[in-house]
Amino acid sequence: MKTLIRGGRVIDPKTGRDGTFDILVENSVIREISDTIKKPEGKAQVIDASGRIVAPGLIDVHCHLREPGFEYKETILTGTSAAARGGFTTVVCMANTSPVNDSRSVTEFIVDKARTEGKCRVLPCGAITRGLKGEELAEIGEMFAAGIIAISDDGRSVRNAGLFRKALEYAKTFGLPVISHCEDETLSGGYVHEGTSSLLNGLEGIPAIAEEIIVERDIAIARYVDAPVHITHISTRGSVGIIEAARKTFRKVTCDTCPHYFSLTDEATLTFDTNTKVNPPLRSKRDVDAIREGLNKGVVDIIATDHAPHEYTSKDVEYDLATFGISGFETAFALSLGLVRDGVLDMKGLLAKMTINPARLLGINAGTITEGAPADIIIFDPGIEWTVDRGSFASKGKNTPFHGATLRGKNLLTMSGGTIVFNELK
């Protein structure tokens, strides 16, 4: 099977390529890239990408696919369909399923299921501790053999610093990245950012320091044992500052943030819309500005979605009782393209944070349009305006604070491993 993508502006952050090229895909691999490629003999499809941007498929280092156990929130099929629609060709799914992905059998289940039903590549993230309980290490080596790509107790921090140290050391054996969710639960326990908005709406606050203290702690431990650590979904000015300072003497710390942390402030919570409830919480304008600055200066390496789909009823309750999380796959890219329009990043810089940078963190051969690389490709138009309609989401999770918002920039085609898994290109 051959596919020819013609006439698009190809941007590949890894090689720096930016220009109009034709791309020939054969089976699951990018065969040829050149100025003009003739339509190959025999059966081949041709895609006209003129006027559009052709880029590597996006890679998300942080999402929740909910399967096994929470199929009413999302399944591997619906989650990866949403990912494909959003332009993602590789996603890393967190371990807080039921049962928790803390053993070989659960990892195998996810890998098998993704192979048969997934619309894109699914790389499971294993738990650091058994049952995410923070008490003893999970069987990381077993899970590694079954296919995990990273370890994380996402949803909470490993409260026991000694145990987190052991996890960082142990992960070295397999070269597995350790992804740290930073939250001191003795300081959090609220529902929204502790700031001027929580003062107005009376909702219990989560102070910025609940995150920052653990960012500081985890980096200190990583530095001591000289192991890489990846801080996920940073949301505060303080976290950006801590990571920026640490980087000067310790290169092995990386981090990501999510579109809602640079698109919304805590003011969005004033309406008590439970779709604004997310952990970490939407922060102050000052924090949002710092996150954007961090993206601009390269302190923040990666944009992840933290796609956290939930069933309607879990959000259709009092704010205090609602679940945390935003269904993010289908809005993440458009929101991120806003950074280019706002001059925070150039197009190549943005794409790097969603393709090659996550690929490097995970150590996978993806996130680039080069001859011989896997054919993970998207075609998008940064100029198309569209209105977010959660009803049209491929995800089961309709929990988005962006419903009804007009966004600019739309993914039109997703090719995952040579197969077109989403196509709205007309």
Partner: protein, 307 residues
């Protein structure tokens, strides 16, 4: 002025004009409670449900009397008898109640935003009877009414609010309304009970009670919420009482015509001493009396006419 709102959810939402309109309307209704026949037919045939998920005697009774004096029918549902214990969601409970066609639902709930949630889905008028640490709009209205009655004005006053500011909906609503009218507000309490960023609301923080009440025109005492874990923030109520209990000595340093307010129920001997609670500066019982008039006004304005 034309009243346009369906619901009363927050004081922060209301303009000065709207607040004064409610107070003026309340003046007309206050007289009814002083008559032999304490009833007018104004809301005849209307139904008011009080849906209380938190224990309350004062507010619920006040709303009920207000509704009855306007000839509305009232039904009280409190958490012990409501379906909440049977696992029904608040929205379902509310939708079921709405099927019985009430005109207004007064809701008290421990979680901020619960009234807003109902207002968004129901046609009935929703009145916030206190939602968690968020707001208690009718309390702020009756407090402002009482201040106007005693002081002849609602602006340019020095008001000290003392107690657990962080977890008090009464404090929040009062700060919003008093600030709106340009009063000087001093928030006083132990630092663990003063929320961060409070200064952004334009109030001053004072940890020392003596300094806070000096020359104050109004002293507003808040209840120590023992039932809401209020004691997590202080070593003991005994120590609190020593540091923040209002005594006659404090009152003597305030303005000559100072008034002392308390939303009730009082913890005598904890936040307020007997000689203050029962002293000449206390307007605590006036607040209760005015509460009925203000709630009559609110009910009348919200459900008195067709939309």
């Amino acid at each position: 002025m034309n009243w346009k709102r369906k619901d009363l959810l927050d004081i922060r939402d209301l303009s000065k004009e709207e607040i004064l309109f409610i107070l003026d309307t309340a003046e007309s209704f206050k007289d009814i409670s002083k008559r032999e026949i304490k009833k007018v037919p104004t809301l005849r045939g209307k139904t008011v449900i009080t849906l209380f998920y938190e224990p309350s005697t004062r507010t619920r009774t006040s709303f009920e009397i207000a509704a009855k004096r306007l000839s509305a029918d009232t039904i009280n549902i409190s958490s012990s008898t409501s379906s909440s214990t049977k696992g029904e969601t608040l929205k379902d409970t509310a939708r079921n109640l709405e099927s019985m066609r009430p005109d207004a639902i007064v809701i008290r709930h421990s979680m901020p935003g619960a009234p807003h949630m109902l207002a968004a889905i129901l046609d009935s008028s929703i009145i916030n009877g206190g939602d968690g640490s968020h707001e208690h709009p009718t309390q702020a209205l009756l407090d402002l009414y009482t201040i106007r009655e005693k002081k002849g004005r609602v602006d340019g006053l020095k008001v000290a609010i003392v107690g657990d500011i962080a977890h008090s909906r009464v404090a929040r609503s009062n700060i919003f309304s008093l600030k709106n009218f340009g009063n000087e507000i001093i928030c006083c309490g132990p630092p663990t009970m003063i929320p961060p960023y409070i200064e952004t609301l334009g109030v001053r923080v004072e940890y020392d009670l003596e300094k806070a009440v000096r020359k104050a025109d109004v002293i507003m005492m808040l209840r120590i919420q023992k039932e809401r874990g209020g004691t997590k923030y202080i070593p003991s109520t005994k120590e609190y009482s020593t540091l923040y209990g209002l005594t006659k000595k404090h009152v003597d340093t305030a303005a000559d015509d100072v008034i002392v307010m308390h939303p009730g129920p009082m913890n005598r001997g904890t936040e307020i001493m007997d000689d203050v609670a029962d002293g000449p500066a206390s307007v605590i019982l006036d607040q209760v009396e005015n509460g009925v008039a203000v709630r009559m006004a609110v009910l009348y304005l919200l459900i008195g006419g067709e939309a």
